[in-house]
């Protein structure tokens, strides 16, 4: 049993010994991940200044997803961790997506009936409580 063998050479004082539990990630992997994250940050900032229409937001979110994957796989050890811990993270994100999809489906159906600009009541409220609010329309 590996924990016995680890226990045998107790970690105290041993430089570079192996941990009793858990996984050791090489420095090279950590630095490579960090560098990739910084590069991706530069890329995503650069894309902001280029007009790609609809694609802008998808690229931004796509890059964010890639960065998040890198962080969770390497910094958070999920690459080597128990699959169930990965399931916990992915599962919780699936529930967020579920909530988002259902709410968006509802709002998406309502949208055509929403009046453009501030709704009448909002405008009345702003007029009386924030007198400098511009009267606006689309």
């Amino acid at each position: 049993m590996s924990s016995h063998s680890h226990a045998a050479h107790d970690g105290h004082g041993h430089g570079g010994g192996h941990p009793l539990v858990g996984h050791l990630v090489p420095y090279s992997t950590l630095f490579a991940t960090g560098a990739a994250l910084l590069v991706l940050t530069v890329i995503t900032v650069a894309v902001r200044y280029v007009d790609l229409g609809e694609a802008n937001i998808y690229i931004a979110i796509g890059v964010a997803v890639v960065k998040a994957t890198l962080v969770s796989l390497f910094f958070m050890h999920l690459r080597w961790d128990r699959p169930f811990n990965l399931m916990v993270l992915v599962g919780s994100m699936l529930f967020v997506i579920l909530m988002m999809v259902f709410c968006m489906m509802d709002v998406g159906q309502n949208e055509p009936t929403v009046a453009p600009g501030n709704a009448p009541l909002v405008q009345t409220y702003l007029d009386s409580n924030a007198p400098f609010a511009p009267v606006t329309s689309k």
Partner: protein, 320 residues
Amino acid sequence: MSHATHADSHGHDGHDGHGHDPHGLHAKYPFLAHHFDTPNQQFESGKLGMWAFLATEVLFFGALFVMYAVMRFTDPEVFSFASRYLDTILGGINTCVLILSSLTMAIGVRAAQTNKKGLLVTCLALTLAGAIGFLVIKYFEYTHKFHLNLKWGEAFYQPVDEAEAQLVKTEPAPVANPVLAIASPNPSAGAAGAELVSLPPVDRTAIAAPKAGPDGVVSIESLKEKAAAAASHAHEEIPHLVDPGLPPNTHRFFAIYYIMTGLHGIHVLIGVGVIGWLLVMAMRGRFNSNYYAPVDFVGLYWHVVDLVWIFLFPLFYLIH
């Protein structure tokens, strides 16, 4: 080697080797709590607990992302307008600061695993510095926006200074709907509305087209010039109140901006607390390759704080 460590802990099979001799392990590892049989069981339990907690964090922020998605879906022009008021450079720097602090945290975990106390203390100190640096930059961002009255709710519509108040008052904004203008006590819109009382209903396209006032005097260009002149002392952008492109409901962008970044900031603040605690413990030499779980778990928390920002940054600062 690590694979063997994992293999021996699968479910109940993990502790049968130790089940008959739990006391030996408890004597050997003073950190082993009485209700756990092996250090591995304790570590894996803590780790799963941490992951479950992180799942609640994902849902916690996730609900706000849903809120964000719904708001951006209903008012896309608000988001593309208002995100211009956020400082991409500062946001980008903050992103890099968080990523680097995440990196130092991950290295710190490795240092704890390999008994490198000096490296661990250095890494934790760097991580702490990153967290505090992030908050300092955020503080400057917030104060700048407060200074420009880019706030939530009605405060968003307060002019920054006398000059801007004059500007807003003297240049009545376009009135779209005569009926609304009558109902409103807005001094600027009311005067215009009073003249419109007797007007017959106008069709929508005719109203929406001109961006100038009902008398047709104010052109967008002249408004921009005046605004720029009035606000030249503070910032390059024209004040949002006199910007003719100001879409309705823009205050809602700043509501969700402050809530999401603010909640994230609170998490960073909590991170400062726990990483500071880790730093003290590490300096006292509490962690070694046998017992480093707190470093690992705080690390997981800190990476999730980073993860949230990785999504917040493009969603607020990088809207084209």
